[in-house]
């Protein structure tokens, strides 16, 4: 039994290929059902974002799983053979698959290193797999581990800290001037797309007072109406009902210089060919404000704020290149932190892989126990049949004696089986055990999960409880790592 992943991402496939495979959230459960229904894999989870489409699965052998999932992808892409997709697909078995899953969830494999959305998408993918019961004991455990690894990476490293988009860098900079933007007034001058995005970031950072001014007042008004409507509906999250409402006003363009006096943050992006705000205006404004600092962002190209405005005391001006520089230095820091994160992932892969390997011996252990228990029971009953005069208590003693001999005898073999399984491939040990105790042949790995016995501890997907993490080692005598 193997954990595998087959998929493609922004690193291996262009968007033309990715978009043909991408699945909407509503299509995920059906895809999972298809995958497990085919019989190629026992458990499956499909992750689909704009940068990656991946199937995580548990299969009896990696090869079967790989070909099954590749065919699934080919069908989705509308091809008859996977040949055309193959160059874009990566296939990882075993530890590499676990490591890949952990890195994806921790956003170490993302296009923008450390971006936070992926963990949510990852959780959604898991939810979808749970809802159609295509995730069984192995995936449940490993996926939950991946989520906790992602959280560990986020708290122990700075990989997800600091802004990596130009519009968000503006917010980060503003927060180095003002401690709490909820008290500040923001003016949007012009209505460029990136400027609007920066404004939205500021609003989600707490800004409650927005003024919009564009050359034509109607544009400012319609943007103001649109924004307040959107914010009015979207910012009413539960628990935030008391949050102060955001006011958005439109002012005529020729009135903006007077409005500046009461404005703390300006985002400027008009289509004007030359400077809209000059040094004189800012000198006057800052004096009128009694030197309360101002923060100006000029996202327009050509620039709309004269660069020497930055020389005015208590005025801080940033243009698009400055913001880009913030992003660059933050990204460099994230790459640095990603190395720490990789070490965390490696650690966690080791411990998860050890757990997974113990699963391989579980059927043997169960079979061995059942075999031994059967012998103990039948031998005890045989003896009891010859001793009809025993009291109930004495009969129990005889049964107990048989059971305890079996337990003592099995203790060491079972313990070393588990220990062996944690540290290396246990195949050989399993075979020897089966031969020694003449246990019935194992389920051939090629058999489909539908044929797996319903009481098999690994179980097929439908039999495993979706939520709790079942203990793979039944009646364990000495669980966990030896010593």
């Amino acid at each position: 039994m193997q954990l595998i992943v087959v998929g493609l991402s922004h690193k291996t496939a262009p968007v033309e290929v990715r978009e043909r495979l991408a699945l909407g959230a509503e299509a995920l459960p059906e895809a999972c059902r298809q995958l497990t229904g085919d019989g190629a894999v026992r458990e499956a989870m499909v992750l689909s974002t704009c940068n990656r489409v991946e199937v995580y699965a548990v299969a009896d052998t990696a090869e079967d799983g790989f070909s099954g999932i590749s065919e699934f992808f080919a069908r989705r892409a509308g091809d008859t053979t996977p040949a055309h997709l193959l160059p874009h697909l990566y296939h990882y078995p075993g530890n590499d698959a676990i490591g890949h899953m952990f890195r994806v969830a921790s956003s170490l494999d993302s296009m923008v290193l450390g971006e936070p959305q992926i963990l949510g998408q990852f959780k959604d993918a898991f939810e979808a797999a749970l809802s159609c019961r295509s995730s069984g004991m192995v995936l449940n455990k490993v996926v939950k581990k991946a989520i906790s690894v992602a959280k560990r990476v986020r708290t122990e490293t700075a990989v997800a800290q600091s802004a990596v988009s130009v519009s968000y860098a503006a917010v980060e900079l503003a927060l180095k001037v003002f401690s709490d933007v909820s008290r500040e007034r923001v003016m949007l001058l012009g209505a460029g797309e990136m400027a609007e995005l920066a404004l939205r970031h500021l609003i989600s950072a707490g800004v409650r007072d927005v003024v919009i001014s564009t050359r034509t007042l109607e544009n400012a008004q319609s943007l103001a109406t649109r924004l307040s409507a959107e914010i009015g509906t979207s910012s009413r999250k539960p628990g935030e009902a008391d949050a102060e409402p955001v006011t958005v006003r439109a002012v005529p363009f020729d009135a903006f210089p007077t409005e500046l006096v009461e404005t703390d943050i300006v985002i400027c992006s008009t289509g004007a060919p030359d400077y809209v705000i000059g040094r004189d205006l800012m000198t006057r404004t800052i004096r009128a404000r009694k030197h309360r600092p101002m923060f100006l962002i000029d996202i327009s190209v050509p620039r709309n704020i004269a660069p020497d405005v930055n020389r005015v005391n208590d005025v801080y001006l940033y243009d698009i290149d400055d913001l880009q520089q913030v992003v660059e230095s933050n990204l460099a820091e994230r790459r640095e932190e990603a190395r720490k994160a990789e070490r965390i992932v490696d650690e966690e892969v080791d411990s998860t892989a050890r757990w997974l390997r113990t699963l391989d011996v579980v059927p043997t252990i169960t079979a061995l126990r059942e075999h031994a228990d059967a012998i103990a029971r039948s031998e005890a009953e045989r003896v009891l049949g010859k001793l009809p005069n025993l009291s109930e208590k004495e009969r129990e003693l005889v049964r107990g004696l048989a059971a305890s001999i079996i337990n003592k005898l099995l203790h060491n073999p079972l313990t070393s089986l588990r220990r062996e399984a944690q540290d290396r491939d246990s195949q050989e040990m399993v075979e020897i055990t089966r031969k020694l105790f003449a246990l019935p042949e194992r389920q051939a790995p090629t058999e489909t999960p539908a044929d797996a016995p319903p009481d098999s501890p690994v179980g097929n997907a439908a039999d495993s409880p979706p939520d709790p993490l079942p203990d793979p080692l039944p009646r364990s005598a000495s669980r966990g790592r030896p010593r």
Binding site: T157, L173, L175, K176, D180, R289, H291
Partner: protein, 272 residues
């Protein structure tokens, strides 16, 4: 006994100061380094408190009447205020400025200790203790605005020159520094006012006149006037932000001058 505690405190402050200075320009999360620096500061503070308590009991009065004691009490209060600030506002970076300064101050105190002349018996009494304590507490408050002013100026320069490095990331926002400057001045001004008043009244009893216009008294009064103007100017003339930061730095340097500089420069040995 108090000397031993005092030296232990000094050592702890030195270690904490070095740790803070290593922590300041560092990148990423270095919780252990920060924890060690804070731990060192706290240990120093405990030893320092012990030293002050022992000295208090030896003396039978609050130990703040010689230059050595005043400097020691100054750094003790500075550390206390820093720890409270850190506890409340989590501005750990302040430690990189406050702890080295506190160390310098105890170090100066240690140097002054050997040369401290016995106090003129006429000067002993509650009046002098009150006067010097208030002046020291006022100086600590001004010191906070001084340190916040330094942080402001550094952060302001980094923001203006667009150097977005680790130091930029570590330093608090300008507005926080500005608020600290304002609070320091607001706290220090009434303390200094009361300190000067109690000093004048004390002088009336000891020497028979309230005010003598000695260089020290003159400088003290000038400093007091400077902070008064700064306080008023902040609200009426916009002496805040960048200018406020420079003024806070200048003001505290003048305070230092009035505390010790004048004595040293003019060779005058009447300490109060």
């Amino acid at each position: 006994m108090n000397v031993l505690y005092f030296e232990l405190a000094m050592t702890a402050y030195l270690i904490a100061a070095v740790l803070f200075l290593v922590y300041l320009p560092g990148s990423g999360r270095r919780e252990t380094l920060l924890a060690a620096a804070l731990g060192g500061t706290l240990a120093g503070f405990v030893f320092h408190t012990a030293a002050l308590t022992v000295r208090w009991r030896e003396l039978g009065g609050f130990p703040v009447t010689t230059a050595y004691e005043a400097a020691s009490f100054f750094s003790w209060t500075l550390i206390l205020v820093f720890l409270l600030f850190d506890f409340r506002l989590r501005i750990h970076v302040l430690g990189a400025f406050a702890v080295p300064l506190a160390f310098l101050s105890v170090f100066a105190a240690a140097l002054l200790r050997t040369s401290a002349a016995p106090l003129d018996p006429r000067l002993q009494g509650l009046g002098l203790t009150l006067h010097t304590s208030l002046m020291v507490l006022g100086a600590v408050a001004f010191c906070i605005s001084f340190l916040a002013g330094i942080m402001y100026v550094i952060q302001m320069r980094l923001l203006k020159s667009k150097h977005f490095g680790n130091l930029y990331a570590q330093l608090p926002p300008l507005e926080v520094c500005d608020a600290m400057i304002a609070r320091g001045v607001l706290g220090g001004f009434p303390l200094t006012t009361l300190g000067l008043l109690s000093g004048a009244i004390g002088a009336r009893y000891v020497w028979g006149h309230y005010w003598e216009w000695t260089p020290k008294e003159t400088v003290s009064l000038l400093v007091w006037g400077f902070y008064l103007l700064m306080l008023l100017g902040r609200y009426w003339l916009g002496m805040r932000a960048q200018r406020g930061a420079y003024l806070a730095i200048a003001g505290f340097l003048a305070v230092m001058l009035s505390f010790m500089g004048i004595d040293v420069v003019l060779g005058e040995h009447r300490h109060f």
